[in-house]
């Protein structure tokens, strides 16, 4: 089996017919990968996530061409999200495009929506400018470097200046071989607007799988992006993600994350408000069961004054699953009149589950308003009785109550079809 070697980097790049500059980028990232030790529980960010059980080298990279051509994927994936407006659809299996379309209207407006390899070939200047330069850096950690070296597949969205793309882009990354290294890069230029729904999923499998992803969301001045990253991998998958959104002057980023799957997820999610008037909202929806382990590190960084960040992560936990949320709001000196909020609320459906909420503030300005809250709760028996007293069976009452817990966040996902689907998964998980 090919594993993570320099030779494998070259092989991957060759199989993708990449230009020399991308190979160079990969090799540099590989050097950093090699020079960076595997994180252990002695590293602060990894204190609550132990990788001892992970036999890392066994995974190896995803070399192009091993995607199953006859993969059976759920029919709803890759469908258009709205009936009235055609936007863009992109379906990839193991990082290889299987289905693709973009409306003529959006094309005419100069919107680029394609897979990342296509973007490297067709839009090298944009990729050189934005790929792991402003968002996530390969130096951020072992897994960011690994991704830089072995990334494969993913989604590129570029919305030119002042273009308001009113139809959604929908990207689906299905994994069949259990090894994906997809990269999402969204660039929304000054005054532009876009909606991107980004789904990651795989069937349940026996053999351990790996997802090593990067998400970069770059929102220009006066621009707006609604982004929903929806993950539903099988519980055989280990996921290591680095994600960063940046927002320019008076820009808006509405960022929703839904996590249903994986054996283990470690995600670093950072929101940077770079210019005055920038606004960012991070919404997290997760449901863990069995022995799932979910560890999220979030940061809201106020690099300028008069910026607003608002984070709310809500989860339901069952059985022996464990959730860690560690959140940090940072304000640089001089970032005055900022408003930062972070909250994590967990619903414990079983006593055996465990949740840790660790909010934090690093504020170096004085005229700021920063608040945080975290809470764990159980199902409310009075609420359940009330529902039952109207003829609703207990099982349905529990489902309604759990759905109700998530409802305010679910409404932030702009498509009812997707909301319904996630609600459906939640009901399945309640069991």
């Amino acid at each position: 089996m090919t594993t993570f070697t320099k030779d494998a980097v070259e092989k991957l790049s060759a199989s993708l017919n990449e230009p020399a500059w991308m190979l160079e980028f990969r090799l540099k990232a590989f050097e950093i990968y090699e020079a960076t030790p595997m994180p252990t529980t002695k590293d602060e960010a990894w204190r609550r996530t132990n990788l001892r059980q992970l036999n890392f080298d066994e995974f190896g990279p995803s070399i192009n061409g091993d995607a199953a051509t006859d993969a059976v994927i759920p029919s709803y994936l890759g469908e258009q999200l709205t009936t009235d407006k055609a936007g863009g659809n992109l379906l990839q299996i193991d990082g290889v495009t299987k289905k693709y379309n973009l409306s003529d209207e959006l094309k005419a407006q100069g919107v680029i929506f394609c897979d990342m390899h296509e973007a490297v070939a067709q839009h090298p200047d944009l990729i050189k400018q934005y790929f792991m330069t402003k968002g996530v850096q390969v130096t951020e950690g072992k897994f960011a470097a690994l991704h830089g070296a072995f990334w494969c597949g993913g989604t590129f969205l570029y919305v030119p200046k002042n273009v308001k793309a009113d139809a959604p882009m929908h990207s689906v990354l299905w994994s069949e071989n259990g090894r994906t290294f997809t990269h999402t890069l969204a660039v929304v230029e000054t005054g532009a607007e876009a909606i991107l729904m980004d789904e990651y999923a795989s069937a349940e499998g026996e053999v351990p799988g790996l997802h090593n992803g990067v998400i970069e969301l770059l929102v220009g001045d006066n621009a707006s992006l609604v982004y929903a990253g929806l993950q539903d991998f099988g519980q055989n998958v280990w996921q290591f993600n680095h994600e960063r959104g940046r927002v320019g002057r008076d820009g808006k980023l509405d960022w929703v994350t839904s996590i249903m799957g994986t054996r283990l997820t470690k995600a670093f999610q950072t929101l940077e408000l770079d210019q005055q008037g920038a606004w960012g909202r991070m919404s997290g929806i997760f449901f863990t069961n069995g022995r799932q382990h979910l560890d999220m590190d979030t940061e809201q960084i106020h690099n300028a004054g008069d910026t607003v960040s608002d984070l709310l992560y809500k989860g339901a936990l069952k059985e022996k699953s464990r959730v860690v949320w560690q959140g940090m709001i940072k304000a640089l000196p001089g970032s005055q009149r900022i408003d930062g909020f972070q909250a994590n609320r967990n619903l414990m459906l079983d006593k055996t589950a465990r949740a840790d909420s660790i909010p934090g503030l690093e504020i170096e300005a004085d005229d700021v308003r920063c608040t945080h809250a975290s809470a764990v709760g159980k199902l409310d028996e009075e609420e359940l009785f009330y529902l039952m007293s109207r003829g609703i069976p207990r099982k349905t009452a529990v489902e309604m109550s759990v759905q109700g817990f998530f409802d305010p966040l679910m409404r932030r996902i702009p498509y009812e079809g997707i909301q319904e689907r996630i609600f459906g998964r939640i009901v399945e998980k309640i069991g």
Partner: protein, 260 residues
């Protein structure tokens, strides 16, 4: 077929504390009973025990509803069998809209009859909801609000009766529906309830402290509860007598010591 709620020597406790100490009451469809009594005498406890709240434990006696042993049923089965409780203090259900909730109350009934049932269609449900909301003077925008979350006291009470109108029970218990309603709302809600009682030939147990609601919902019988027992039963004039004289004469008559 006309059914009845038949309570025989019912005793019930909250935790170790006995509250109901032998209640006998027969409420038939088509009859309106008022239940009055001082604070803490056990009226809500009776209501909760009948509705099947898990914290209220029946310790002796029997309740027969439509020929079945009510106390053996789960709370949801009791509701589907045709018993309804309009709560004195309705719970909030965050994240579940009133419309979604009402639709589920209808669908749960249909699916209990036929597990294959796909539920009421959205247009049919909308029509039904609009009609009932208009009857009770409830603003349509409440349909999209989370159930009872941030509702005022009176709004909650109206919504309780809206639920009653939606599920169309055979016997309803209204626990102090009048408290919290303003004068106009009391009339609208009482008249709405009265219309339902008549149209559906419902039976009702109306718990109240005041004659006011009984001006609209005219009881056939009035019962007085004290210290976990029904100590006096009579016609509508009994409520008027209470209004005038209070409870002292009853305490004396039945040797009930007033609680501190």
């Amino acid at each position: 077929m006309s059914i009845a709620l038949e309570i025989k020597n019912l005793h019930a406790s909250i935790g170790e504390q006995p509250i109901l100490k032998g209640i006998d009451l027969l409420v038939k469809q088509g009859e309106i009973h008022a239940l009055m009594g001082p604070n803490g005498s056990g009226k809500s406890t009776l209501a909760y025990t009948l509705a099947g709240h898990p914290a209220y434990e029946p310790t002796a006696g029997q309740v027969i509803f439509g020929g079945e042993d009510l106390l053996e049923m789960e709370a949801d089965e009791r509701s589907r069998a045709g018993l309804f409780l309009a709560f004195q203090y309705p719970a909030a259900v965050p994240g579940v809209t009133l419309a979604k909730f009402l639709r589920q109350t209808i669908n749960s009934r249909r699916q209990a009859e036929n597990p294959e049932d796909k539920g009421i269609s959205i247009p049919a449900f909308r029509r039904l909801l609009t009609e009932k909301m208009d009857m009770l003077g409830i603003d349509h925008k409440f349909a999209g609000r989370y159930l009872n979350e941030g509702f005022s006291g009176g709004e909650k009470k109206r919504v309780e009766i809206l639920q009653m109108a939606t599920v169309e029970p055979k016997i309803a218990i209204m626990d102090e529906t009048d408290s919290g309603l303003d004068i106009d709302a009391l009339r609208i809600v009482s008249e709405g309830a009265m219309r339902l009682y008549r149209e559906m030939n419902m039976g009702a147990l109306v718990i109240t402290h005041y004659q006011r609601i009984l001006d609209y919902i005219k009881p056939d019988y009035v019962h007085i509860m004290m210290d976990g027992r029904i100590v006096e039963s009579g016609g509508p004039d009994l409520a008027l007598k209470l209004e005038e004289h209070g409870y002292d004469w009853l305490r004396e008559k039945h040797g009930v010591v007033e609680e501190a």
